[in-house]
Symmetry: C5
Subunit: 264 residues, 5 copies
């Protein structure tokens, strides 16, 4: 029982220290998250059996180390954290890393896996992608362009979904006009969900066994479900040979919140 208390006290200390520690000069997170030419790496992990059987106090020490590794790399990469446990069967947690150079994402992930906490992680999947200027938007009508600029509603969007996509050979063999026409239909079908579902697109061809990583955040999963249904009803969907497999679904979290969940 005392040991349990000790664990709780240690956790509180760790969190307090995290709170008061002077913030290290961080990468220009906003720029990494909005610019083209930025690499996005999604790394999903599950915890090994040893983790579950470890003493709470040891776990807290290791989670403190996780916090340290994240802080240390903040200068170069933008890191987001997700809790997948309880919603996905592929992984317990996921990091999304934005970096100007893919090597910087690699360095963070290598340091993470080399850290004491990382020794209890089993890599279950990595997806690499690249942000680019919009391919088809320049050809859209002004009305559509305006619609695409509508921002999603403010407020927390607790759910995050990652859907890897691979198009088939026929898609890439189509000429640009035909693809443009289909992407217009695709985009129109999605526009009524602009406010409740936030989207981000990564290009993966050559960087992974995919063509695209589509990333979503929402507070309204029923709306998100309707959006994906709408996407499956347009012609462009027939040129898709992989959609998900795996789709990853989880909740947006922070290192601190994740530490609280995992310390138990």
């Amino acid at each position: 029982m005392q040991r349990r208390w000790a664990g709780t006290v240690a956790l509180v200390c760790v969190l307090l220290m995290a709170w008061v520690s002077p913030s290290i000069a961080a990468a220009d997170r906003e720029k990494l998250l909005s610019s083209p030419g930025v690499y996005g790496t999604f790394a999903a992990f599950s915890l090994d059996d040893d983790w579950g059987k470890m003493e709470p106090a040891s776990r807290i020490v290791q989670l403190k180390g996780l916090k340290g590794v994240v802080e240390q790399h903040r200068e170069k990469v933008a890191i987001d954290v997700y809790l997948l446990r309880g919603l996905s069967d592929r992984a317990d947690l996921m990091f999304r890393v934005h970096a100007a150079e893919l090597r910087d994402a690699q360095k963070f992930l290598v340091d993470l896996q080399n850290s004491p906490f990382g020794k209890n992680l089993k890599m279950t999947g990595i997806l690499n992608g690249l942000t680019k200027k919009a391919n088809y938007v320049p050809g859209f009508s002004d009305e559509m362009k305006a619609g695409l600029k509508v921002k999603s509603d403010p407020g927390p969007k607790p759910y995050a979904i990652v859907i890897p996509i691979r198009k088939n050979a026929e898609w890439w063999a189509l000429d640009q006009d035909k693809r443009m026409a289909m992407m217009k239909e695709h985009t129109e079908a999605s526009m009524s969900y602009q406010k409740t579902v936030k989207r981000k697109l990564y290009h993966s061809t050559g960087l992974d066994d995919l063509d695209f990583i589509t990333y979503f955040e929402t507070s309204n999963l029923e709306d998100f479900h309707s959006l994906i249904l709408a996407m499956e009803g347009v012609k462009e969907f027939q040129y898709t040979r992989r959609f998900g497999h795996p789709l990853l679904i989880g909740t947006v979290t922070s290192v601190e919140e994740l530490s609280e969940v995992l310390a138990q």
Copy 2:
């Protein structure tokens, strides 16, 4: 031998305590199980090797903890338990969780996996879905609508079967009329099994690598077999690209009965 007795006594105590414990204010189970807009999560687990080699007394303590975790979340989620061991090769047990918010299901499953019993569980599969108002029924004849209102025979339905379904791109590209016509044929073919097989449908598009989770309960597996055969004979089935894989089959149980089986 004495240790065995000790275990049995401990088990009896646990079950007695469960019996007499004042029931915690439970989620409106009936409402969660019958309303649209409710999330259904199916989480299948297998027991790890350590579990089998643990002392009966330790197992009983851990199973008591399982009971506690379930009680604790009853306020927000409706939880059903199934024994898959001996009928399915994918998992030993399965939880079905209904929640108004998917996060509440996640919280239960995270707490379950963080509990001492949960440390011996290996997640083998999660399926997420959403209940919705019937898509096609409003277009059916009054006779069919009446038929669909016929309730299944009362009495225990010990077997539960879960069949994940994914439709192909052609299905979603069909116009609503054609899908309606096929769904009428589909529904007519199923109606003679209304009394012996209870059905429930979840929509999964965007929440998982599926389009539907179909859930069945029955006491008559031969009838259920005939129902699925009938479903495979209608035109709509040709637009299915995943049916099962895995189909999960097990028996409906309770935390108490499950504890008895696993304590051995």
Copy 3:
């Protein structure tokens, strides 16, 4: 060396006891093996690493327990045992269980896995099926019907082969006449192997990710090979989308013989 002797003596004792123990009232095995409406479950297991590294004496004690579990369930279910090790890469041993209610097969398999021997088993596959009255035979000619009544040659048939089958959607969409015509061709092609290959058919639709489990016993594997070649040459085979995967091949054995092999 002495330990080895001890093991051998213990094994002899176990086998002697098995021999002299009064036979428990057994399920009507003949009826279960020949009636329609009976459930057949094929459960394949591999032995874990601990088993191989266990002392012979401990193994013998555990194998004695296996014998006990089988005896205990004989009243309700008919159990056959197969050695797959050395012929299949999916499993070391397999049980075939016939039961009037699928729950009874489940109870046996749960007790088996809960037994000390069972703690060393890893479930590698379960197939569930149901025996039914012949679908197409009533439409066959009298000559064919007579031919199908020819019994297989007496004498031991040491080899057993299990082939799971799934038909494609086109098959189930065909009208009964067309399927009947193809099943006639199928049956005619198989009739010359009636004497050397014993066959049994289970229907699995809805009970598993299959449509049929086909089970064979033979002493002449070359004849069996020719039979399957003949089956692949008829038109009905083109409506098969899964044939085997895995095909399971092993030798028919008894709990006693299996114990001798595994005690080493």
Copy 4:
């Protein structure tokens, strides 16, 4: 250091003993390797983690046992050994077993897995086949028949390749004439490699999830590569739905040489 010496001395002794031990009456190896109606089993294994961490002296004792098991079964089966480690990712070693009865191959493999060395082996794949008289050769021209009788060049052929093949349903539905014509083209395309690549064919339909096991030995892998390229260019190849998956490639070895490699 002394332990290392001890190991080396022990190994030398083992090899000397193998050398001088009176040869047990062996199965008629030549007959098993050249007759139709003989079963061929390919069993691939990887070594478990414990093996690598075992003392050299213990390894040598276990490898001596391997030698014993092989000797013991020589009377009934012909056994060949291959080193796959370093060339294949599926297995470390492979046995090819020829037997007049498949049960005899099973007995050897069961004894192998029951032996102390075998406890460190993990079965990674078994392929079963049957040698038969040539199906199509009787219909070939005299010139082709003569060409097929040309023996491969003498001298060691250190590389062995195993390619499992499954034909599609269309192939088996073709009439014999059409298949004969395609097999002529297939055979002609292969004849210029008769001297540098030794081939052997096993029929697997019904004995495994395959139709054929093709086995090759060569000292010239570039020639072998050209042979397979030629095979992929003929019409018959279009009726193949599985070719390899896995293709197994390794070097021909002996129990003695294998022991030397694994003792390190």
Copy 5:
């Protein structure tokens, strides 16, 4: 803390020793890397759980052994090393081995796996290929030939990507003219990336479950992404049935740098 220092000192010593050790007569690396008729083996490994939990000092000793194994085989094979951890989910590290005889690559990999460091490696994939004279280039225009001779920009190319490719049966059934026309289109589409992406091609038919291994080095992953997009847009791509799966991406490293990363 002292232990940590000890580890660092040991590492420095190891690296110094590596630096000053007289270089062993190395295989003609340039010739192996540029000639036709050379075998290329790509071997990917992940580190086991024990590695992460080992003392730094023990790790350093083992990594020193890795250096030794590489040195020892340099006479016969050319060895390149890659760090995949943090970018690929299939492996932590990869070796590319060029050898005049495939057996020599096997010998290196067997010695590697037999070394103390190797005991902590789990083989996750091997790809075997063969360099050959260009098939189609002789038929290209002089302009294209000249373009293909343009060397890639000097300077480090930190990223390496391996994409296994399998063509479908239709491709191999096409006559040489049609394939030549398509390969011209393929090559033209790739030529603008000649300077920023270095390419190398290996032929795998018969040596592995592939037809080609394509290997790339670049410092500009966005250019590489555009190159692969261009490759997917030409007609020849429609005859590809496997492209990647897995694509392997990592950074070019040396045994010394790898040792530094893994020693942590």
